[in-house]
């Protein structure tokens, strides 16, 4: 089997004095969609924050594309080919939609090249193109999430990491966001996501990891986890 794109090996992480993750292991292969699910406080988002460098207090190994990145500061991570969609559809609300996307391509110094990157994202999200001159803060929740995803795609990353993409969105927009994730899957992109809507996430995903209290609990294909009795009772509302 080929090497994984991302390997998380015995990851410990803490918020100040409080340890949140205890030896978490995970792998993401190219072209795969991987979901991290689990109850509140399991440390799902913490895994993501540790991988992208927003959480400094961490130890273990995080190997991306053959390189251990655990010591890298967060601002060095995008250059490696990791796109990040933060929790809570965070956009730069006073800037236009176009400027938000340009920030996603901050590392591209050449203006023409940046514009091409913006156009590519507009082609994928025509709705954003319609709103390109609007302040991002004036968009609907679903559009803001679309913009956050578009911003993460500006550097054409090898891996897109999403933290709770459907959190706080109305059902109509949840539907839209999952359609977009389907679309990304169809394009063969590699996704790692944390999602509280576990059933939807596992249906979309190739594989899933269940975390509990900061430790690996279950790990299987999305379909197998959906069918698993214990997982269903514990995390999927017993359906």
């Amino acid at each position: 089997m080929t090497e994984p794109l991302l390997t998380i090996n015995k990851l410990d992480a803490a918020y100040g004095p409080v340890q949140v993750l205890f030896g978490v292991d995970m792998e993401v292969y190219r072209g795969e969609i991987v979901a991290i699910i689990g109850p509140n406080g399991a440390g799902k988002s913490t895994v993501i924050k540790a991988v992208v460098g927003l959480l400094k207090s961490r130890s273990g190994q995080i190997v991306f594309d053959g390189r251990d990145i655990i010591r890298l500061p967060a601002h060095a991570v995008p250059r490696l080919g990791i796109g990040y969609v933060p929790q809570g559809r965070i956009v730069f609300s006073h800037m236009t939609v176009t400027d938000n996307l340009e920030m996603g391509a901050f590392l591209i110094k050449d203006r023409e090249q940046r514009r091409r990157s913006v156009d590519a994202v507009f082609a994928q999200f025509p709705r954003l193109h319609e709103r390109r001159q609007q302040a991002a803060g004036s968009l609907s929740g679903g559009e803001q999430q679309m913009l956050a995803i578009g911003r993460a795609m500006m550097l054409d990353p090898q891996l897109i990491i999403l933290d709770e993409p459907s959190l706080g969105l109305s059902p109509k927009y949840v539907e839209q966001i999952f359609e977009q994730l389907e679309e990304l899957k169809a394009q063969g992109r590699t996704l790692l996501m944390v999602e509280q809507n576990a059933a939807r996430a596992l249906t979309l995903s190739d594989r899933g990891y269940v975390l509990e209290l900061g430790r690996n609990r279950f790990h299987d294909t999305g379909r197998a986890l959906l069918a698993d009795k214990a997982v269903r009772e514990l995390y999927l509302g017993g359906r």
Partner: protein
Amino acid sequence: MHLLEPVLLLQFLVSGLLAGALYALLACGLNLVFGVMRVINLAHAELMLAGAFLTYVLYAWAGIHPLLAFFLVLPALFGAGFYLQRLVVERVVGKGELQSLLLTYGLSIILINTGLLIFASDFKAIPELQGALIVGDIAISKPRTAAALLAIALTLGVYHFLKHARLGKAIRAVAEHPDVAMLCGIDVVRMRMFTFGLAAAMAGAAGVMLTMIYSFSPETGADFILKCFAIIIIGGMGNFIGALYGGLLLGVAEIFVAGFVSSQWAEAVAYVLLILILLIRPTGLKGAADVT
């Protein structure tokens, strides 16, 4: 002459705008730092005086004209601000108001006393640019006009930079969501160094202008910093262009009060405006939401 003569009102307005431009330049830098990193820099007016004394030294020792000194003082203060941020101020970013107030208060004390040690507390002035232009029926002071035009040009230039340049937008991104900015590949620490350097350069430029229109001592900063606080609250906390409006408004209001009432009352104008704004529109003229 009657006080309500249109000519006189115009004279007041022009004089007020000229005086306000210096306030605006100084307050914009203060507000930029606050907007980007939520640090209130109590040493901001001392950075202006650093610029003023540097100009004075260049003039007294090397005979360099203040308008030329501008081109030396600006980069010097930018560099000083850049490294001040890296070595000292960065440590208190995100640590709450008290820490940043204590730190910058300490900085201002160090700067004032260094100034007193070197220059004593005598007032200095550079009598280089003098005289007035007569336009129609009003007189416009030459040094004040030069200073005001430079101040406005610089303020609008920085505004344009923040609004449209790639780096300027990155600074605004850091101000709003530092974590997300980081994961756009923006080195937020470096952006804050750049921001503080920019604010210090603006303060330094205000210092160059100060030498052209006022006499000054190492202790002159206190009058200015208090007015600057009033200005940024009047204009909108953290809003760059709001400080421009607030500064011009204060300059004009002071001159009118000095003309119609007395120059002693003019000193109180900043605080009366401050109270009025807090009563009528607590977010300031421009609101406090964005850096620009």
